[in-house]
Symmetry: C2
Subunit: 245 residues, 2 copies
DNA sequence: CGTCATGTTGAATATCATCAACCACGGTGG
DNA sequence: CCACCGTGGTTGATGATATTCAACATGACG
């Protein structure tokens, strides 16, 4: 099942990936030179739902690219409560913020069973070898990380809670569309609490906002199952003029 | 004046910078190989207070590293109001979020007279030449951008307005310390409105929060002039356990 | 079948935005 | 020199909105 094609990109080996595989997962394969048959091979890593990909403070030895599944990126403060600031999914780069430190600066936890490609730091920061192409890939993927996270800042600041939730759903739907999945029906991979932490709201407010959107006939909600009835109505409030992704 | 040493890092040429200069401004010079005397030379760019460094939608041709001064990074939405999501200062990398697009994805405006080093995109994404070292520098500087911006997300989401303002001041003080300036007395380079836009507050709330902190004896405020009286009290509410920077 | 995690909904309270008045400062022009 | 005006900043009163505390519903799992 894992070795099957993902969105039309066949994977040569269930336990390893070429640089080309990585580029395809990142949707940056158009930037790769057609040559390079003897690419480095990257190992695969699988993480079960609820397990940690890495923990705050661990020595950083690799970045990851998500091939399948959902995760959450969590920061714990000294009082013990947590703040989620990203829900990485297929095609996202993980660990980049930690690169300039010598340890991971957050916890990253799988929300669903996940399948990732492991990019060793050595591979990345070493001069020579095929690193030039890899550097370019990582640079551009990282740029996208920044770009997306800026959207999230705007999202978290927007005043009306209903608008925040609506925009989050719109962003998620857009990402599903880009990946070739249905953007009308999907499952929220995170709890209301997680979503609230991400959006800067309490879980009750998230629940109320979802109910309100459902009451207005814009979506229908059944626990984690979301059905978008009026896509246009989701994006309208305080839309930002750059593409999230 | 511009050609004078900055924080002990002499600059060889007032109108050009070597890769080593860039590394020093980024405070990443320890990562550079000692060799490479024939580095690429980067041009300097000066921007007057109030002027644009670049505008949303312009074709992206360069990243910038701030050598001196303060700027603001602004996103305008369709309704015409603006949202600030960064106040780049000395040692910061600019434009990285735009790298994965073919145009700048925000407006960047100088708050004070600024002096920047221009890093052409061609230089960056070209294989060969001294690009390996430059790539490494940019990658790590970009990682820091992400790291800092995540702190800002947490900042913008934190519930109490007073805590947001306090944490912002603490962050700014820390950055001044790192640059070798006084962390007890400094001038806010931005208006209350800008600060509010950045923190997700109105300018009135920012003003009130500053007054409240002053009333508690934690700081003293005279328009843009801030004096920190009790540094410990600034960081206490909802402190995040990773270093901003 | 009970227990736990998750989610919904209600009522009371705290907090921030809004609207508004006012002050200080810097520049311009009479 | 001073009146005038615009920008930036402070402070107050009021109302909208989200949080908090709480009760209850539902589904998963042993």
């Amino acid at each position: 099942m894992v070795s099957k094609p993902i969105l039309g990109h066949p994977v040569s080996d269930p336990d390893g990936s070429t640089l080309r595989d990585v580029a395809e997962i990142l949707r940056l394969d158009h930037l790769l030179d057609a040559s390079d048959p003897l690419n480095p091979r990257f190992t695969r890593r699988r993480v079960k739902a609820g397990d940690y990909l890495y923990r705050f403070g661990e020595a950083i030895d690799a970045l990851y690219v998500v091939r399948l599944g959902f995760l959450k990126t969590v920061l714990h403060n000294s009082q013990g409560d947590e703040r989620i600031f990203a829900f990485p999914m297929q095609g996202d780069l993980l660990g980049f913020a930690s690169l300039c430190h010598d340890h991971y600066v957050n916890d990253t936890i799988a929300l669903t069973d996940c399948d990732l490609v492991r990019i060793p730091i050595k591979e990345l920061l070493l001069t020579g070898y095929a690193s030039a192409q890899l550097d370019r890939l990582v640079c551009l993927a990282a740029s996208r990380v920044v770009s997306v996270e800026r959207g999230c800042v705007g999202l978290a600041i927007t005043v009306r809670s209903e608008a925040r939730v609506a925009r989050f759903l719109a962003m998620l739907a857009k990402r599903y569309t880009d990946l070739g999945y249905s953007s009308r029906n999907f499952i929220l991979p995170m709890t209301r609490r997680d979503l609230g932490s991400y959006l800067g709201l309490t879980l009750e407010t998230v629940s109320r906002s979802l109910s309100a959107l459902a009451g207005a006939g814009i979506i229908s909600v059944d626990r984690r199952e979301i059905r978008i009835l009026q896509p246009d109505m989701l994006k309208l409030p305080t839309e930002f003029p750059f593409s999230i992704n």
